[in-house]
């Protein structure tokens, strides 16, 4: 069933390994061991790596016992792993289906045939010909759960190659670190370890004494799970290290990069990963991008599993599951397991997608909307703040009122009625974008005027007024923040809702969409420079007015202008303050730490048409 071709397992291995395991308990020793594993059995003389107590190790162990050539993600419990491995793989009910139904052959992969073929030929070429001129690195990118690692594993076993993996070491927890410090073990960061690993690979290849009788051609190095980098410098180290690898490695190497979704906009990672990819490609690596798995493939896989598990789900339900997974097959399978587990208790799956006012070509969007509300197992879709703002500002609506007039619907006056949205409820969009309420309002305020027709002054006025309402709500609980956290939250959401709906409603004749850049609110910058100027004024107020403190407003409105006229202390005049404001603009970006994320978004993203 799951026996892999091309994997030779020595049955003595288990026995060999176990003693080594126990004999290598000494912490210090195992710390300094090389950190890559070979999933094939190895002679016991080679000391085991990565701390004999770690779970991954046990899993490796179990997979060895299981005679699996492929190393799996080790998320099943350690004991379980052993038990299951003892019996025959498929019967154990405790196993996660994701592991149980791991693809064993190229045919079982849900990944698109072409992609698989592409990777296969790439590896074949590298393995067959000893051509040192071509590069040896393949970068595989794609969102989580689209079968990147699985593809490599399957292809490797198909080609009869062994996989050498970089295993990210278990993170050192603080107590452990303290303990290690006391016992004299030097801490090496995971990035350091990775660098060492790469360095070794580059210099010596994978020459280990254990290679007996196997040709060098059948080794594939896999770097799944890049070390986490925090901050620019660390990232640059990682990048350089990988670049060196790309340039000098002689064995076929696959680097698997999981794309974080761009929407986690606060995060620095997505950008840096893009940068990393492009630099690797520039250095000569070959890049294959995986797309989310298509609905049909997921459905096919799910159906297969259903058949084997003998659970009867309707085609409709499977369809729904597939849609809800958003192209993430791992997620889909797990969901399926959940559904089957409490199948009797499950109420019939809501056939939520009855909302008819979605047009056909928006089917994918529809699936996203369905997943958010109606099912417990959907993958929550996320939107970038930017995307959400685009939706609000462009204010796309149906061309006619499709839903028609129900009897119980409100009758609204013509001037208050609007066509239905071409999107989800604004609150939901907001929620998906996890935008903070205040910045959302600020962004809308900054940008909305450009989306209002030149003649529609009334609309502009309505929108401005609604934004004012939102501002009122934002301000309501100022000062007593700590005690009324709950109320604060409700207010914030309400305010955001008012702002968004105000913008949507107020703009009664949305312009046909055209290209617009969404700007970062100038308001933030203005607030900052106003604050600075105020501090400046307050500092100098004694200079204005010898023996008494004057109000800031008095200084700003009367004393400072007068002094400017009088010509002395000219540096305090309005002009010079303007200049200081201009001068500050450049440093603003670095200063505005809390706004940085937003500013990053707005600086170079633009929306055209959604």
């Amino acid at each position: 069933m799951r026996k892999k071709a091309g994997v030779v397992v020595l049955s003595s291995d288990d026995e060999d390994d176990k003693p080594s395991l126990s004999s290598n308990r000494s912490y210090a020793k195992s710390k300094s061991k090389p950190l890559f594993t070979c999933t094939n059995p190895r002679p016991a003389k080679k000391p085991r790596l990565s701390g004999s107590r770690t779970r991954s190790h046990f899993c490796k162990e179990s997979s060895n016992v299981n005679e699996n050539g492929v190393s799996f993600e080790d998320f099943d419990d350690l004991l379980n792993g052993f038990k299951v491995s003892a019996g025959s793989g498929r019967i154990g009910t405790n196993e996660l289906w994701v592991d149980k139904y791991k693809p064993c052959s190229v045919e079982e992969l849900a990944v698109h045939k072409k992609k698989v073929e592409e990777i296969k030929t790439w590896f074949e070429k590298r393995l067959r010909t000893k051509d040192d001129s071509s590069n040896h690195v393949l970068v595989i990118t794609g969102p989580a759960g689209v079968g990147k690692s699985a593809t490599i594993h399957v292809i490797a076993s198909h080609l009869g190659a062994r996989l050498y993996e970089w295993n990210t070491p278990t993170p050192t927890i603080w107590q452990e670190h303290v303990h290690n410090c006391n016992s004299g073990v030097r801490y090496t960061s995971k990035l350091d370890e990775f660098e060492n690993f790469i360095d070794r690979i580059r210099k010596y290849g994978l020459i280990t004494p254990s290679f007996t009788g196997e040709s060098r051609s059948s080794i594939i190095l896999v770097i799944d799970d890049l070390p986490v980098t925090n901050g620019r410098t660390a990232f640059e180290r990682l990048q350089n290290c990988l670049l060196l690898l790309v340039r000098s490695v002689r064995i076929p190497t696959a680097i698997v990069v999981t794309e974080c979704e761009k929407v986690d906009s606060g995060d620095y990672t997505p950008r840096s990963f893009e940068e990393l990819q492009s630099s690797l490609v520039n250095a000569g690596a070959c890049k294959v991008a995986f797309n989310p798995i298509t609905n049909n493939s997921i459905k096919k896989t799910l159906l297969r599993i259903c058949r084997q598990e003998q659970c009867s789900l309707t085609a409709e339900q499977i369809d729904l599951l597939a849609k809800a997974s958003g192209g993430d097959i791992r997620h889909a399978i797990t969901s399926l397991q959940l559904v089957c587990m409490n199948f009797d208790r499950m109420l019939n799956l809501p056939s939520s997608n009855s909302s008819s006012n979605f047009s056909k070509e928006k089917a994918d969007e529809l699936s996203a909307s369905g997943s958010g509300f109606s099912m417990q197992f959907g993958r929550d879709e996320t939107l970038s703040l930017f995307h959400a703002l685009g939706k609000f500002l462009h204010n796309k609506r149906e061309t006619e009122n499709v839903t028609g007039m129900d009897q119980d619907a409100f009758c609204v006056l013509g001037k208050f009625s609007r066509l239905p949205f071409k999107m989800d409820a604004p609150e939901m969009v907001l929620c998906q974008a996890h935008g903070q309420a205040r910045p959302v309002a600020d962004f809308l305020h900054e940008n909305v005027l450009e989306f209002i027709g030149e003649e529609a002054m009334d609309d502009a006025s309505a929108v401005a007024s609604y934004l004012g309402d939102a501002d009122l709500l934002f301000a309501s609980f100022r000062g007593i923040l700590t005690r009324y956290n709950e109320a604060e939250n409700v207010l914030q959401s309400a305010a955001a809702s008012v702002a968004v709906r105000g913008v949507l409603f107020g703009n009664s004749q949305p312009l046909p969409s055209r290209w617009h850049a969404i700007r970062r609110p100038k308001l933030w910058q203005v607030e900052q420079s106003a604050m600075r100027n105020k501090i400046e004024l307050v500092k100098n107020r004694v200079a204005y007015n010898g023996s008494s403190l004057s109000d800031v407003s008095v200084i700003a409105t009367e004393l400072a202008p007068a002094l400017k006229w009088l010509g002395y202390r000219s540096s305090r005049g309005l002009e010079s303050r303007d200049v200081s404001m201009q001068g500050n603009e450049t440093e603003d970006d670095s200063l505005a730490s809390l706004d940085d994320e937003e500013c990053e978004i707005s600086d170079d993203d633009e929306i055209e048409d959604w």
Binding site: D442, H445, L449, I452, G453, E454, E455, A456, M457, D458, A460, S461, V463, A464, S465, L467, G468, A470, D471, L472, F474, A475, R478, G479, I480, K522, L523, V526, S529, A530, N533, L537, K539, R541, V542, Y544, G546, S547, S548, L549, S550, D551, V552, S553, V554, I555, A556, T557, E558, L559, P561, A562, L563, K564, W565, L566, G567, L574, D578, M581
Partner: protein, 354 residues
């Protein structure tokens, strides 16, 4: 030194504008213990001058020897300590500060500083324990919480210190504080009074004042004495000898607002609104208080407006001004007012002229 400071009356006897109040205050402090005082009145009416003169009356010339300090107060607020920096002006007998400078943390200042003052009470010459005076500016800008804590500390430490509060509008000071203070209303000086002061300064400076010139300055000053004296001085720098029809230089921001007003009158469109927003930002950057901007803008707009719209526009200005006070970000409301005006005015133009 500016004329505003140079000719500021030093004692209660020298006061020109509010002689009656000055006299009463003098009587008050010479005859008996001084109660807490709350001075209120519009800007430039002479509150501060009176307070300083009063302090001098109580403590003698020592009250004028002030030192400026940038003090940091460490405040223990339960789980954390807050550092607050505030400029104070203090002499041996009094401390002056504007607690509203620290924003919403003003309540800590109010409590902390009064406590501290109560700790070290000065002893006067007769060996009797004297009291210190705490002058608080801009009390109307204090947050509610701060005002409430002020009320409590006022009672607790009333033996050791006196408070002199100063604000523009007593309506924004809570009842409890108002009732604990002797309220002193300082009216804005009349134009005649302003003319008198200007003439007094002119005489001291040895200037020839053409007839009607001082009156014109007074008229332009919006009944603010400070404003009048400042304009007077700028006129002096600009052109001397004076001519009676000499232009009185307006404040730069006022010119700017008037420019905004004409922008608004010229075109009503979202695009123009956007431009106006930019100009409003400019004003706000320079710390011109948004209320004053709105007021001035209304004034400028009304000057150019048809009579039948004036009422409606005033209504909306008041509406948005109120919301601005309640709200957080002034620009939202300023802009909403401008947008409303544009919308109304555009409708008006269309109905009148087709």
């Amino acid at each position: 030194m500016l004329w505003v400071d140079k000719y500021r009356p030093k004692t209660l006897d020298q006061v020109i504008v509010h002689q009656d109040i000055a006299l009463n205050l003098k009587k008050l402090v010479t005859e008996q213990d001084c109660p807490h005082l709350l001075f209120y009145g519009s800007s430039g009416s002479g509150k501060k001058t009176l307070i300083m003169a009063l302090l001098r009356q109580v403590f003698g010339p020592g009250a004028e020897k002030v030192k400026v300090e940038n003090r940091t107060w460490k405040i223990d607020a339960g789980s954390r300590t807050i550092d607050l920096e505030l400029t104070t002006l203090s002499s041996a007998n009094h401390v002056e500060l504007s607690p509203s400078d620290v924003g919403f943390q003003d309540r800590y200042i109010v409590q902390e500083i009064i406590k501290e003052m109560a700790k070290n009470r000065p002893i006067d010459t007769k060996g009797k324990r004297g009291y210190k005076v705490l002058v608080l500016n801009e009390v109307d800008k204090l947050s509610r919480e701060a005002q409430h804590s002020l009320r409590r500390t006022m009672e607790k430490y009333s033996t050791s210190c006196r408070l002199i509060l100063c604000c523009n509008s007593s309506s924004k000071v809570i009842e409890a504080i108002r009732s604990r203070c002797l309220n002193v209303r300082i009216n804005a000086p009349t134009e005649e009074q302003i003319v008198k002061v200007l003439e007094f300064i002119g005489k001291k400076e040895g200037l020839q004042l053409p007839s009607g010139f001082a009156a014109r300055i007074a008229e332009k000053s919006n009944r603010s004495l400070r404003r009048a004296i400042l304009s007077f001085e700028t006129c002096r720098v600009q052109q001397y000898p004076f001519t009676s029809n000499q232009a009185i230089p307006p404040m730069d921001w006022e010119e700017y607002v008037s420019e905004i007003a004409s922008d608004i009158m010229k075109e009503q469109s979202p695009k123009r609104l956007f431009q106006v927003r930019g100009k409003l930002y400019e004003l706000l950057t320079n710390c011109i208080p948004p209320e004053i901007v709105l007021k001035r803008l209304l004034y400028e707009l009304l000057k150019r407006l048809d009579a039948e719209l004036k009422h409606e526009i005033c209504h909306w200005a008041a509406y948005y001004e109120h919301r601005m006070r309640l709200g957080q970000k002034a620009i939202f409301h300023l802009e909403a007012f401008v947008a409303k005006f544009m919308s109304i005015y555009k409708g008006f133009l269309i109905t009148t002229f087709g």
